[in-house]
């Protein structure tokens, strides 16, 4: 265990707490029910569907657990999860088949 300067840690904690809340509050709190322009709404419709794949694509391609080396078990589990989700439109069944695939392959590939 390393010794970390408490002032640094608390600066980070307080800064992140205020900053994160500000990011979350900006639109929902300050804009409220004032109407937003159609072009903005059109872009916002695709926020989730863009940011979520972008968040995980690098984690699938270069997993941290394998020091960034592409990993057969994780790649396959990712593909299975995505495919099951696309066909069943069911988050839970996709999640569980994906996890089962990951554990099965990690066990088989040792």
């Amino acid at each position: 265990m390393t010794q970390v300067d408490p002032v640094t840690i608390w600066t980070i904690i307080v800064g992140l707490a205020i900053g994160s809340y500000a990011l979350r509050f900006t639109f929902i709190g300050l804009v409220g029910d004032r109407s937003m322009p159609p072009w903005l709404l059109r872009h916002l419709r695709y926020t989730a569907v863009a940011i979520i794949p972008a968040l995980i694509a690098p984690a699938v391609a270069w997993p941290t657990a394998t020091a960034g080396q592409p990993d057969a078990a994780r790649m396959t589990a990712a593909a299975v999860t995505l495919t099951v989700g696309l066909y069943t439109k069911n988050v839970i069944s996709a999640m569980f088949t994906g996890a089962a695939t990951l554990y099965g392959l990690l066990y088989l590939l040792g």
């Binding site: 390393t2 994160s20 990011l23 863009a50 972008a54 999860t81």
Partner: protein
């Protein structure tokens, strides 16, 4: 009457948000363990986890802290990882913006990947929902995950022991998010947005401070919006 319908929407949100407990628990435990290893005490770990309440940003901050990064860079990077919260906030505003300020202030605190993902899918599926029903659903979707995240962090920090790497908990988050992508592919523009975002995120993976995520997110949003415009013009001509 109105309260009973809101009540049932609360429980629908609760049910839809419940599966994320399987993600929040291992992820929170992992964070507690990681924070202890990085040299944070229990009070610091719990303060961080319950005020910031965003796993990816918390992990980013700790990772950079261990790499002796200057405080200012740590703050900017972790907040950049959390910039998606501003996008979530903006995206929910058309649905929740008319709610009372105190409800919006509380909703802002509980705005996480999971509550956002559940809510946006539900609000788009049933546009006829009232504001009260949407707020009830949103709080319902955040209810299971919030206490589990905090308790799991505490357990991880107290145990402080290394969770065996064979558990492959590193991949709990990608699997959970991948499972959510399939049901989101409702129209061609949604598919275009996701594909462009994936390609952009892989190409920009080398960009420092996780800014690649923001670049890819914006690229995907623009691609989706453009695809929607083209699709609308085509159907107008036909």
């Amino acid at each position: 009457m109105a309260s009973t319908t809101s009540n049932s929407f609360y429980w629908r949100g609760f049910r839809d948000g419940a599966p994320f407990v399987f993600v929040a628990f291992p992820f929170g435990t992992l964070f507690g363990v990681f924070a202890t290893e990085a040299g944070l005490n229990i009070v610091q770990t719990m303060a961080l986890t319950s005020t910031v309440f965003a796993g990816a940003a918390q992990f980013t901050a700790l990772q950079l802290l261990q790499d002796q990064t200057p405080t200012a860079i740590i703050l900017v990077s972790a907040l950049a990882v959390n910039l998606r919260m501003a996008m979530y906030s903006a995206s929910l505003t058309p649905y929740l913006g008319a709610a009372p300020l105190w409800q919006r202030a509380a909703a802002a605190y509980l705005l996480v990947d999971q509550s956002y993902a559940c809510s946006i899918v539900q609000f788009e599926k049933e546009p006829a929902m009232t504001i009260a029903q949407r707020i009830a659903y949103f709080f319902g979707s955040a209810t299971p995950v919030t206490p589990v995240w905090i308790v799991a962090t505490y357990l991880g920090a107290v145990l402080g022991t290394r969770i065996p790497e064979s558990w492959a908990l590193d991949f709990a988050l990608p699997i959970a998010f991948l499972a959510m992508i399939g049901p989101m592919m409702r129209t061609l523009p949604h598919v275009v947005a996701a594909l462009v975002a994936i390609i952009a995120s892989l190409l920009s993976a080398g960009v420092p401070y996780n800014l690649g995520l923001l670049i890819a997110g914006c690229a995907g949003m623009i691609a989706g919006a453009q695809a929607e415009l083209i699709a609308t013009r085509k159907s107008a001509k036909a």
